[in-house]
């Protein structure tokens, strides 16, 4: 998988720019605030998961413009594709893949998958459960449009159910209506749960192995899914388990006016040597865990797709020591993964690899190839 070129119009601080990329490692070098991360964000949008910074379209629009556009050409399994994303103030972007308008933006994952690793990912370990759910949803979603569909319907149903809880509290709706929405929510919740657990079973061994080698065999990483309600061993009972949990918590939910159980309240728990990483991991361990999860995500996507995703490394080279840095780049290079890296200093890169890379200087919303 490869992006051959990208064109940005009125995107963040880019007025208009078109650049061809290297099929291997691409490095964007420049001082802070020049637009390096904006480029990675634009590339990440091509995989249809939304901004990795959780930005809204209005945030990504250049100042005082009324549309932004991202066009890209690339290859997947040696077949050319074109993507055209156009945001012009409506609720949703217009998305075309090979000239065909897509109803759902996540169908772009058919052409492009991205894995992004940025300093914010350190929050994966110590941050709130929502960070880890977002990691899971992004990872699974890219390999399965069905998952995205179920997730969206689930979120919609939960929003409706929460609105209903508020109305019940205000005596504007009845319990019979709540039964009805419980019936709508439950099968979606169980399907999400099953898909998440299946995915974790696949990704966990990768993450474990990668972490083990990063810690030079000294430490073990374990991933477990923590459901917000009790589950029996046999999956066939999960629908009943969830409905029971909703019944048990009903009065509390009406008082608090939110749905307290379900996949939107679950967590991915991380353990190092059987101790919970959220509580005990050092800075260095957090970094290694985050990196392991991201590298495992790459392997996970390859497992399903038999093609590597595009890897975006946002200002993380300085986070790694020189030896790991070189190891990581060599690894990606050997697997012929297309990589985009932002950095303030080229010092971070091993001299031996410079000839395998394309360098771009980024300054005030412009970029150009450079060789220094």
């Amino acid at each position: 998988m490869e992006i051959k070129s990208i064109e940005l119009v009125h995107f963040r601080n880019y007025e208009q720019v078109k650049v061809p990329f290297h099929r291997g490692i691409n490095i964007f070098v420049g001082s802070n605030g020049q637009g390096k991360t904006n480029l990675l964000e634009a590339i990440a949008l091509l995989s249809g998961n939304g901004s990795h910074r959780d930005a809204k379209d209005t945030d990504m629009l250049s100042w005082q413009k009324d549309f932004y556009r991202i066009k890209a050409e690339g290859l997947t399994f040696n077949h050319p594709f074109q993507i055209d994303l156009l945001y012009s103030g409506e609720k949703r972007k217009k998305v075309q893949l090979n000239g065909r308008t897509l109803k759902r933006i996540y169908d772009l994952s058919e052409a492009v998958n991205t894995v992004i690793f940025s300093p914010e990912d350190l929050a994966l370990v110590k941050g709130s459960p929502s960070e880890r759910r977002r990691f899971l949803d992004r990872e699974i979603g890219q390999t399965s449009p069905a998952y995205c569909d179920v997730l969206q319907r689930y979120q919609k149903a939960i929003t409706q159910r929460n609105a209903l809880l508020r109305r019940i509290r205000q005596k504007e709706a009845t319990m019979a209506e709540l039964d009805l929405w419980d019936e709508q929510v439950a099968p979606l919740a169980v399907e999400l749960l099953q898909r998440r657990l299946d995915s974790i079973a696949k990704i966990a061994p990768y993450a474990r192995q990668i972490y083990n080698s990063l810690s030079e065999g000294k430490e073990e990483l374990d991933l477990t899914y923590r459901s917000s309600f009790p589950l029996q061993y046999d999956r066939n009972y999960w629908l009943d388990d969830y409905k029971k949990a909703l019944r048990d918590r009903r009065s509390e939910e009406i008082i608090r006016q939110v749905t307290l159980v379900g996949p939107h309240r679950d967590d991915l728990q991380l353990y190092i040597n059987k101790r919970e990483a959220k509580l005990y991991a050092s800075q260095g361990q957090q970094r290694s865990i985050a990196l392991s999860l991201k590298l495992a995500e790459i392997a996970f996507i390859y497992y399903f797709r038999k093609e590597y995703p595009i890897v975006l490394l946002d200002d993380v080279m300085s986070e790694l020591d020189p030896q790991r840095r070189e190891q990581l780049l060599k690894d990606l290079h050997r697997r012929q993964v297309q990589v985009f890296i932002t950095t303030t200093h080229l010092r971070a890169f091993p001299a031996t690899m410079m000839k395998e890379m394309a360098l771009f200087r980024v300054q005030e919303g412009r970029l150009w190839p450079t060789s220094e």
Binding site: D66, G89, E90, R100, L102, K103, R104, D107, E110, P145, A146, D149, R153, K156, A157, T159, Q160, R161, A163, L164, R166, R167, E172, A173, T174, E177, L180, W181, E183, Q184
Partner: protein, 199 residues
Amino acid sequence: MLYYAEPVSKLIEELSKLPGVGPKTAQRLAFFLLRQSRSDAVALARAIVDAHDKTKYCSSCMNLTERDPCRFCCDEQRDQSLICVVEDPRDVVAIEKTRDYHGLYHVLHGSLSPMEGIGPEQLKIKELMSRLSSPHLREVIVASNPTVEGEATAAYLARLIKPMGLKVTRIAHGLPVGGDLEYADQVTLLRALEGRREL
């Protein structure tokens, strides 16, 4: 809006209340209308007022109609054993276009959506229930949209109607007929796979 003459600002303001029309489109529409002849403008204004004044809900099926009862409910040739329940008058038109459904209709005027304050009371469900005692009726077809809200509405209706001994069916969703599989979007194809049947 202060930059436009007062009547123009007012027109823009009214137009921007339309669904899918933002301030910019509203301005464009307003200036288009101003360039039109006066008679065109009057024709448009009259059409809007007429549509309001001369239509009402059919007292039986709740569809929009000029005459009550509407032409579907009056038509004795239609199959009185079937009622097709839809969310919107536009859905009646869509189904009529098949020219192959000859039963009756019932328009709910929306779907269950607590976010918008729409519960069973806000939909034309009571009116539907009162029609179910007809001795000819055999089946109620629920053709609400395949959205979360449409499915909830369908489930609600099934729960109400089934105990009365009537057959309640839900329209299928899946592939567009005559389309190529390769052009179907992934989720539609997925649902079609889920709803596969034995040959």
